[in-house]
């Protein structure tokens, strides 16, 4: 795959290396303490667009720099390194803690649990820094949760890009997830096109 950026590629990794974002199950990404619900999806993009800060980015709530990002994958992946592009003026995260294959972690869990790995981050405005993982521990990752407990002194934490480097296996970790059977048919699951256009006549 040819490199699209205009400088030489010996210094930087090609975007094909950072292509794990393609294996992320975007519909199931969630974040805790984000200011705009759903904004977390915007930080997973191609390597070339990592510095493109004109679009949406992930922000935490006012006065609270903690962020928790849950990233599920469509198949098991091996993660080699992670890159984070934060915001200016102290809004970049200063620490990162990762948890693997744990569902439904919230802040109290994240603070009390032992992370699988922790990193001290630097302000990485150009997106050239990558943080290596202990590869043996990241061999079959079905989902990863990133906890950013603190930043460089700003009021909020901003993240513009999260890049994951590694390889994707074709294996699926949980083929059988939680099964919840239908207790009774749910009419909204069976909407026809005519229905969704016309609508019911309401009584009362």
């Amino acid at each position: 795959m040819a490199c699209l950026h205009d400088h030489s590629c010996e210094d930087h990794d090609c975007s094909s290396d950072w292509s794990l974002y393609k294996h992320i199950d975007l519909s199931k990404i969630s974040a805790l303490n984000e200011a705009t619900p759903g904004s977390v999806k915007s930080v997973f993009k191609a390597w070339e667009h990592r510095l493109n800060s004109s679009g949406e980015h992930l922000e935490s709530n006012e006065g609270d720099p903690e962020l928790l990002v849950f990233i599920p994958f469509t198949s098991d992946v091996k993660i080699k390194s992670i890159s984070i592009v934060g915001g200016p003026d102290g809004t970049s995260p200063s620490k990162m803690r990762a948890f693997i294959n744990r569902d439904g972690i919230d802040f109290s869990d994240a603070q009390s649990m032992q992370a699988i790995q922790e990193w001290d981050l630097a302000e990485n405005m150009q997106g050239v820094l990558e943080y290596q993982t202990r590869y043996s521990k990241f061999q079959s990752v079905g989902n990863i949760t990133l906890h950013f407990p603190d930043n460089f002194g700003g009021d909020i934490t901003k993240i513009h890009y999260i890049g994951l480097k590694g390889e994707a296996t074709q294996l699926k970790r949980d083929v059988v997830a939680t099964i919840v059977y239908e207790l009774m048919p749910n009419p909204s699951d069976h909407k026809t096109r005519a229905e969704s256009g016309g609508g019911l006549s309401h009584v009362g």
Binding site: L32, N61, S108, P185, N186, P187, A194, L200, H202, G204
Partner: protein, 394 residues
């Protein structure tokens, strides 16, 4: 139909003995709780609801989030009243109960009944609110019972701290003749963020108003959801089929009527072609109306009178032609009479437009038609007018 786990915090403090809500504040609260449980489980059968009490011997979880309605109703029975409400502890325990729910995919929601005075500081409540927001828990507050000056202010501060994108609500229910549950039915607490529980709410309101006849098609969706669904789908299909048939009849009527204009046949043809080639094909009824009106105005520069006199001349010259015209119009009227109201309306509209076209005094039409043709948006305007028009007539 949001997948949700809800914890309801019930206030069973001494203030609930008061009778300003009939029969007593506590009874009204119990009714409201059972109604909420029903609404939640009906809007999505995989929803779960749990209950805890905030006063008496302390915060006590009566039922962890479950979809079993019977269990919740049973635990509401035989509750003792006493003590003071501990709002902060109640909310925190509710949050803990939700954290340990079985299905992690469910959204978390807490519904608080605040009937007695709030003894906590505003700051503390804001702190709790922020923690709930951070863990994306929504909060609904039912403010009833005691009317303290500070209480409403504190609860509003709590709501402001929790509220994320309008997912949290507060409802203030003053004492009065209406039951607490009736007032709550129309609030976002029941209807959710979309049309979620409105079906349940409508059915409940109809049931309380009078009998089984409140349901669509006379079938209770609770008893037989498949039958209700089948009836609804077949009704929609029937309506679509009738509209298609009506449109076809209206087309025939306008075609016959156009054929009568001798002087403008070729122009009509080109006009018709232009119209049908347009994107206006999307909405056939308004397209037909457009055609009829456009045909009536034909040459904007040339006065209508010329054309109309042509028509009337043609009619008077050829009584047979006039008779044929009348018959074709009558035919379309007869056709529509045999069809349903909907198609009758459509035929009427094209009939009316054709009548207007043949009248000498068409000035009102003139200006309106010019407006229509002038703006590009004429089609969508007509759409909006047609739709509410039809709905009204229906």
């Amino acid at each position: 139909m949001v997948l949700e786990a809800t914890m309801i915090c019930v206030d069973n403090s001494e203030w609930m003995r008061n009778g300003d809500y009939s029969p007593s504040r506590f009874q009204a609260q119990s009714d409201a709780v059972s109604l909420i449980c029903g609404a939640k489980t009906q809007s999505n059968p995989e929803n779960t609801v749990g209950v805890l009490t905030m006063a008496a011997k302390g915060v006590r979880v009566l039922a962890t989030p479950t979809s079993d309605l019977g269990k919740i109703l049973a635990c509401m029975h035989g509750l003792e009243i006493g003590g003071q409400m501990n709002l902060a502890a109640g909310i925190q325990v509710a949050q803990l109960a939700l954290k340990h729910r079985q299905n992690k995919k469910q959204q978390q929601r807490i519904i608080v009944f605040a009937g007695s005075p709030v003894k906590h500081e505003k700051k503390m409540l804001e702190l709790i609110g922020r923690k709930l927001k951070k863990n994306s828990v929504a909060l609904d507050i039912v403010n009833f019972g005691e009317e303290d000056e500070g209480k409403t202010e504190k609860l509003e501060a709590l709501l402001a701290a929790v509220n994320n994108n309008d997912s949290s609500h507060m409802v203030h229910v003053p004492p009065g003749p209406n039951a607490l549950s009736d007032v709550l039915i129309s609030t976002p607490i029941f209807t959710g963020d979309g049309e979620g529980g409105s079906g349940f709410a409508a059915a409940a309101a109809a049931a309380s108003a009078g009998g089984v006849s409140g349901y669509d098609f006379g079938v209770d969706p609770n008893l037989d959801p498949e039958l209700a669904l089948a009836l609804r789908v077949s009704m929609e299909e029937e309506r679509a089929r009738q509209e298609a048939a009506a449109k076809k009849a209206a087309e025939d009527a306008s075609k016959q009527e156009k054929g009568g204009g001798q002087h403008a046949i070729s122009q009509d043809a080109t006009m018709t072609e232009n119209k049908t080639n347009d994107l206006w094909k999307q909405d056939d009824e308004s397209a037909l109306l457009q055609q009829a009106l456009a045909m009536s105005m034909d040459d904007p520069e040339v006065s209508h009178d010329v054309r109309d006199t042509d028509m009337s001349e043609a009619a008077t010259d050829d009584p047979e032609l006039a008779l044929a015209l009348q018959m074709s119009v009558a035919d379309s009227a007869k056709d529509s009479a045999s069809q349903t109201d909907v198609s009758k309306l459509l035929a009427d509209q094209s009939f009316v437009s054709s009548v207007l076209a043949s009248l000498p005094g068409v000035d009102p039409n003139d200006s309106s038609v010019k407006d229509l043709l002038a703006s590009m948006q004429s089609q969508s305007d007509k759409n909006e007018e047609e739709r509410p028009n039809e709905e009204e007539e229906k």
